[in-house]
Structures are given as C-alpha cells and as structure tokens.
Amino acid sequence: MTETLQGLSDGFAAAFSATNLFWVFFGVAAGTIIGVLPGLGTPATIAILLPLSMNLDPATALIMMAGVYYGSKYGGSTTSILLNIPGEDASVVTALDGYQMARQGRAGPALGIAAIASFIAGTLGLIGLTFLAPAVATLAVAFGPPEYTALMVIGLGMVVLLAGRSKIKAIISGIGGFLLSTIGIDLFAGESRFTMGRIELANGVEFVALCIGLFAIGEVMVNVEEKSGQTFVQAPRRLKELFPSKQDFRASSAAIGQGSVVGFFIGALPGAGSTVASFVSYTLAKRFSRHPEEYGKGAVAGVAAPEAANNSATAGAFVPLLTLGIPGSASTAIMLGALFVYGLQPGPRFFTENPDVVWPIIASMFIGNVVLIILNLPLVPLFASILRIPYHILYPGIIVISLVGVYSINAALFDVWLVVLFGLLGYVMRKTDFPAAPMVLAFVLGPLFERSLRRSLVISQGDPTIFFTRPWAVTFLVVAVLIFLVPALLGMRRAAKSVATQGEPGTDRHPELEDDDATDSDVVLGDKRQR
C-alpha cells in the first residue's frame, strides 16, 4: 500500500513534467477528435502515431497513446447523441437514449452528463487500476469460457429489455443480428460461413457499417419522409437547457457508480472490452431503474451508464496489459508492441522492474481525465448548436459523414454498399416497428456467446454441467435468472392486477409514456401510437 502510494506520487512527479503534460494533452485531444468522427478507429490511430512515439521516452510514448485510447471514449458519445451516428463501437448504446434526448431538445444535458459520467468513471477506474490491479488480474485469469458464456447469457437477455412495444419483434430483431454475426470464417473449423465466396465477407460484416446503416441512415430516411419541412431534432434555445440539471444528476448518479464498477471489471477481461461493458451496464441500469419504461425514450441514466462503463473499461484494460503482459484489445496490443521496440517486456514483473515507466503512465491518466473534462464541457454548447443546421443541409451531411467514415475503416467500397443495404433495412424496420438495438446487441454479443459456448464444451468434452460446477459461471447464471425471469414473472402478476384495476399511474412526469407498462401483452396491436 505505501509502496503503491510512493509509486503513484513518483509517477505524478514525472507526469507533471512539461513534456509529459504536452503529450498527454496531445493524446487526449487527438483521441477526442477521432472519437467524435465515425470511421478511423482507436487502434488505427494509435498505430499511425507509433512512428511519432518512437522519438519519445517509453513512458511519454505510452502516456500519449493511452491518452488517445481513453480520449476516444469521451468523444465517441458526441455524434451518437446528436446525429444517431455511433462515433465508436463503445458508443452504440449511448445513441439509444442520447439521441432521443437530443430530439427532445436536451442535447446539452445529454452531452454534459456523458462527459461527467466519463470523467467520474474514468477516475474511479484509475483508482481501481492503482490499488486493485494484481487482485483483479488474478480474477481476470480465472475467467474462462464457461464464465464468459454465462456472462453473455446476461448480455443477450438484454434483447428482451431493449424491446419497444413488442417483445416478439425485439426477439426477431435479435435473432437477425445473431444470424448476421455468423457470417465469416469460423475460427473453430477454419471454414467460411455464408460468405458466398466473397473475401470481403471473410472477416464478417463490418460492425460500424451495420450500426451506421441501421441507426443513422435509417433515421434520416424516416425523417425525410415523415417530417419534411421541419428539423427532426429540437435545438436547445436557452443557456439553462445546455447543461444537466440537478434532477439529471440525481437520476444518473447510481448509473454512473454502477457503470464504473461494471466497466472496470469487464474491461479487465481479455477479449471482452468496452463495447460489451457499455451493453451490460445499460442493461443493469434499465433493469434496476424505477422507471425502466423511460429507457430508449430519453432517459438520462441511459446515457450515463454506458458512458461511465466504456471509460472505466479503458482503465480496466490496462490491468492485464501492465500486470500480465496480456493485451485485452487491439489498442493495448499496439501499446505492447511499442514497449517491445523499447526493449521493455511487460509481464508479471513489470511493476517491480520498471516502476519508472508504469507509474507515470497511470498518473498521467488521472491528469488526462481532468484535461478531458475541461476540454469537453465548453464544447457542449458548440456541438449542441450543430442541431440548428436546417435539415436540408444536415441530412446530406449526415449521409456523407457516414459513408466517408465507413469507407475509411477498410478502404473498401464493399462496406459502403453494406451501409446502403443496412440503411434500407433500418428504414423498413422503423416503418414496421422492429427495434434496431436488439439486432446490434446480438450482433456484438452473439459471437462471444457462440465461441465461449463451443470452447466450454471443448474443455468439458461436451458435458454441459461445466456451467454449473464453476462458481463464477453459476453466479452469473443465477444473476441472469434474477434479472430476467423473476421480474418477468412479477411483471405478469402486476400487469394482470393493473388490468383489473384499470389505470392508476405512478407519476405523471411523462404522461405520454404511461401506457408502456401494459406493453408486454399488446404484441398483436403493434400500433402507431407514438407517432
């Protein structure tokens, strides 16, 4: 403990040098920019910066690269909230409620709470990294395929939670996403599945193309058709509307706390990462909310939870990298590669052998988080004012940014056609009331579930009891039952009761949402009430 504090304070002394301060600023600013822009991803940016970093000290280089990494998570929420374009994989869930808030003229509070949640969770995650790294690393190593499988059961159960008016439609959408995720080379058999012999599909469908098509393009098409002549998003008018209110803070404090913890632990697992963390955190927030019906319609906690989780996850991702030399993501793998060039070998002895490298990096991340919040809050009014742009300019702008962004990922025209295809799909789904979120969720978690399941069965030689004999796996399965089955049963009883007594609304803050409690049963109606 005293050793840790000593290390950290030495780290701060080094991190506060003018050079390191400059590079932490450079890193987080670059990260914010690439996070805001869809396309060019975090790993690609860090890779591009690698040659530049070779002129720096190892600690300084890592300070800069780490800055890009967590900085991008801050920026990712911006276009999700304003334009329904996820700027980054881990910000897809943020779009669900963030964009709805923007539509209601609350873009400012959404951006503000995203930045504040990011800051608090990022800092809490770093405290975790500082004091719990060795313990969490042990936990992360113990986490094998059966544990992942059970965790993914919780994640996939969320498909039902993301349902709009119809659970059946949500499940169909989720199955569609799962099926899409099976396209590509099957790692286990080395065979191509549903690629139609096309090399472009060998690595599967590009995730960003799917998200941008379903969300951004689909949204633009629906709006062009339905509301031609008006802007579809209300721009905030008064300064007071630009920042989160006290009530917003109260509504999201629990989500921020939960997201920080969940994000840190999931981020520390090799192979999971911040996208999964954001999904899981959103699920938990919705499940334990007193107003789950507000989620998907502009709940401020629905923005806070995933944004907290994806930032805390970046701190978590440094746990296996620094304590075991095992990178959990592409971005941390490149940082490991950079350390190799310096002749450093992160591993179980890295903390004791290279404290002069490790501690300045960790200390700089505390500083970087402060820089980010200072950098991002003043940008909120500026970004929010983008929504004042008239629709006939904004729509083509969204389409161009989307297509350029997708093209830039693999420099492949094929992906642009995919966006067009998924845009049409998104449009049809909107018109027929199929929610897009379950499809995206199942697309991300489906392969993790499938592979973990198959791995578990390889380990147990096909014996399914492996899921009930490993303590963590059992724990997650029990949690899944508690989260999904129990409330569903209780909900059925409550629904029956409320039908009997007809209408006794809880609160009337959102009168237009009141009839949502009954949605479980009105599958057949599938009406157009909301429009």
């Binding site: 090799p270 490149i334 350029v404 693999n410």
Partner: protein, 329 residues
C-alpha cells in the same frame, strides 16, 4: 454557414488523418535512382494484430538505424486470413512501391479459405527474416514434464486433454495434428482469436498445453508462470536450447515452423527487388534488431533470392501434406 460547418468537419477529418500519417516523415524525398518512390508496407492483420505490430516495429527500427529516411505507411488488408492482402499484392503487378509481410498463414489460407485464389507462387519472394521452431508450454504445476508424457497421457484418455491455439489451420494446430497422427493419440483443440486469451487458458488450467512461438510465452516464462518443455521440431530452439526436440522424444513427423518474411507483387522491377533485399539484409545486422529479437525470443534467419523462393516452395508442400493428413484441406 451550416454547409461550411459540415465541410469543415470533413476537411478536419482528412487533414488530421493525413497529418497524423505523415507526421515525422517531414517529406524528405527518396534518393531516386531507380529505387521506389513511396513504399507502402502491407500487412494481413488489422491494427494491433501480430503482423501489424511486427511491421510497425520493423519500420521504427529501420528509421532508428537510418536504413530508411521516411516512415513508410502501413496498409492493413485484413480480409480472410491473408487472402485479401495476397489479392491486393497481385493487383499491384509490376509496382516498385508495394511490399507485404507474410507468415505461414499465407501458405495455409489458399488451401483452406473459400474464395482465396492467390498463392505465394503468384507473388515475388523478397526475403525471409524469421524462421523458428515452435515450442511447447505448460503451467509449472502441470503433470506433464515432456512431450512424450503428454502424448502418452493422451493415448490413455483419448479426447480428454486440451491443446490451445488459434484457428484449426494455424501452425500449432497443424503440428498437433501431425503428432496425433503419428502417435495414434487424440486430444482436443481450443481456439482463441488472441494470443493473450490462449495464454490465459494455459494459466487458469482450461488448456493443458500450447504450441506457439517463443515470443508468445516470453513474459510468462520469465516470471515463472509457464514452462517450456519441448521444441516442436527435430532441431533445437535457439531460444530454449535445453528443451528436448521431437527427435529426442522419439517422433519423426515433419513439422511446420513459424515463418515471417516479405513478399512483393509479381514482376516487381529488378532494381526495386534488390533495393528491398538490401534493406532487410541491413536490418537484421543492426543492434536494434538484435535486441528486439532477443527480448522477444525471435530467431533471425535471413533468406534472400533463390534460397527464400525454394524454402517457400518446400514449406508449401509440407503444409499441404500436413493439412491433407489432418483432413483440413
């Protein structure tokens, strides 16, 4: 006004992307004289993949040692385990400005992936840099102290022991299949995308052993968390000379090594080919490279020209045989 905003955003994207890409190169041109103008270094993995990191490290070292005077851009063509990169390289026929890193994957992919039609024989071999035998790692508390121990245990309990690795057509899987075929043993293969996940499976006991490159295990071996108990080759590993070879253990199947080399498009101009061969020959002699190779457990073996070409042909045949006997082709 709004138009301008969107426009600005786009210009900013491009400017920052280009700015980042050329940072540090300073635009100091090449010396001309028949040598390539603007080399693009292709890799078949995404950013952060094994080949991607290797190539970026190579470029950094060549810059450091003043072998090249600008930072070559890296191009990630990561579709289909090398198939996309090989197809791209074929399209650059006659170009002096494109080279690509290759691994043994380039030999297996055309034989196993649907739609992968280009083979290394369609391309120009530049140089082989690293050729190393795989080694076998187990946890320190493992009941197996040698390859022979493990194989015998697998014979006694068929299908119960677990080897971990990447896809079922990667080098470790092929070597595992070859040894199973020779010994009449049978064990499971546990696939993970990332090396980190495979090492984790070894550490937590989900897998019993792994065949991999010395680099995969270096950090854990140094910390005493893993042990190297065999070299998966008839020749000893330069990194772990004490680990018994397959010959020592009484196996005589032919095994596939891990290879890293450089390829160029078909019909690359001869002086460009000579230029690249010279660069890589210089690289492996530098201190930066030697230190890098030692730290990462890489075995430098420089092959250029004919030597490299015939080596590839030989390996290609071996991989094909192994795939066939393992029924994966």
């Amino acid at each position: 006004m709004a138009h301008a905003l969107t426009g600005c955003a786009l210009v900013a994207i491009l400017a920052s992307a280009c700015g980042l890409q050329t940072d540090g190169s300073g635009g100091d041109g090449q010396d001309g004289g028949g040598s390539p103008n603007e080399t693009e270094f292709l890799v078949h993995t995404g950013p952060g993949g094994g080949s991607d990191i290797f190539v970026r490290d190579v470029i950094a070292m060549m810059r450091e040692e003043n072998i090249i005077d600008s930072n070559w851009p890296v191009r990630n063509e990561d579709a289909g385990e090398g198939a996309g990169a090989m197809a791209y390289l074929l399209e650059q026929q006659g170009s002096a400005d494109h080279i690509s890193a290759m691994t043994t994957t380039w030999l297996t992919t055309p034989l196993t992936i649907e739609g992968a039609s280009v083979t290394v024989e369609d391309l120009t071999p530049v140089a082989g840099l690293i050729i190393e035998p795989e080694v076998m790692a187990v946890a320190p508390d493992s009941p197996y102290n040698s390859l022979r121990d493990f194989v015998e245990a697998a014979q006694e309990q068929p299908g119960e022991l677990v080897q971990t690795g990447g896809s079922t057509t990667e080098v470790g899987a092929l070597n595992g299949a070859a040894i199973q075929a020779e010994a009449g043993a049978e064990w499971q293969f546990l696939s993970f995308e990332e090396v980190g996940q495979r090492v984790t499976a070894l550490l937590n006991g989900d897998a019993d052993m792994m065949f991999g490159s010395a680099q995969d295990f270096a950090a854990q071996v140094e910390a005493g968390k893993l042990e190297i108990i065999a070299t998966i080759s008839p020749d000893p590993s330069p990194v772990y000379p004490d680990a018994p070879t397959t010959e020592d253990e009484g196996f005589d199947t032919q095994l596939v090594p891990q290879v890293r080399g450089v390829m160029a498009p078909p019909e690359i101009p001869e002086d460009a080919l000579a230029y690249y061969q010279d660069l890589f020959s210089q690289l492996v002699e530098t201190d930066s490279w030697k230190q890098y190779a030692e730290k990462n457990g890489l075995v430098t073996q420089l092959l250029v020209g004919e030597e490299w070409e015939s080596y590839l042909a030989e390996q290609n045949q071996l991989v094909e045989q192994t795939l066939e006997s393992a029924d994966l082709g």
